[in-house]
Amino acid sequence: MQDSKKGYVIEKDTIIIQRDLTELDLFVKKFLNILKKHADYLIISGFVSIATGRTRGTEDVDILVPVMHKEKFSKLFNDLSQNDFWCYQGDSPLRVYENIKNLNSVRFAKKNEIFPNMELVPFDQTKKAKSFEFSHPRKIKIKDFEFKIPPLEFEILYKEIILKGKKDMEDARHLRTFFSEIIKKEKFNEYEPIIRSELK
């Protein structure tokens, strides 16, 4: 099979998805360009499947971020506001920070829009599974849009073991099939106990 026809190729450990950017990608890219100036991140859940070809709608894009100090969050919040994002939880960074501090998600959408939104999911070291996936990112690239996702085997198992909804099982099946040539059985074995620890 010619590489130019394939859905993806691997270049230097980066998964290159061979397609054009969608409006959803451009929305995520714009948000990430701002976020990356202030914090490290990992894109998780539905967008991982959609970015790699799953055909379904989505309203939110989940992003893991390490819990951060108030000042750092305020700078991020103000930068997002100046770039036409608004926050569901409020207009005051200090008030919204209470959510971050308590490890509750906050959501941002484009001005005068509700969906799609970016859901920032803060975590700290007490969250073992989240800490693990965050520290083992995999790079993925679509045209000039590069971002970090969890290891594929981790993402699949998390959907199958923790989330388990209809949509999640479908996403997992898509990822298992689309990436069947590069996912590794030993990685599933390695990640399963880490993911199951989240159930305890």
């Binding site: 026809k5 061979q18 608004w86 689309f178």
Partner: protein, 66 residues
């Protein structure tokens, strides 16, 4: 391949996509169509009103998102 369940179709489509990236064009159309419909609906609901954010937050509270 006999396609009986939704998961069978998902697997079938993922196999096609893996071998032929022209199938991404269909996916792009569907995703963008959903985004545009959603955007247009909520613009009609809230943008004409004076305070978009307050009204949007009322709606989001109503559906349990905040």
């Amino acid at each position: 391949m006999s396609l009986k369940t939704r998961l069978d179709y998902i697997e079938f489509y993922a196999c096609k996509l893996k071998k032929d990236n022209s199938f991404f064009n269909q996916q792009k159309m569907l995703i963008e169509s959903q985004l545009q419909s959603s955007s247009s609906l909520f613009k009609k609901m809230f943008v004409s009103q004076r305070n978009f954010k307050n009204n949007a937050r009322k709606y989001l509270k109503g559906i349990g998102l905040i």
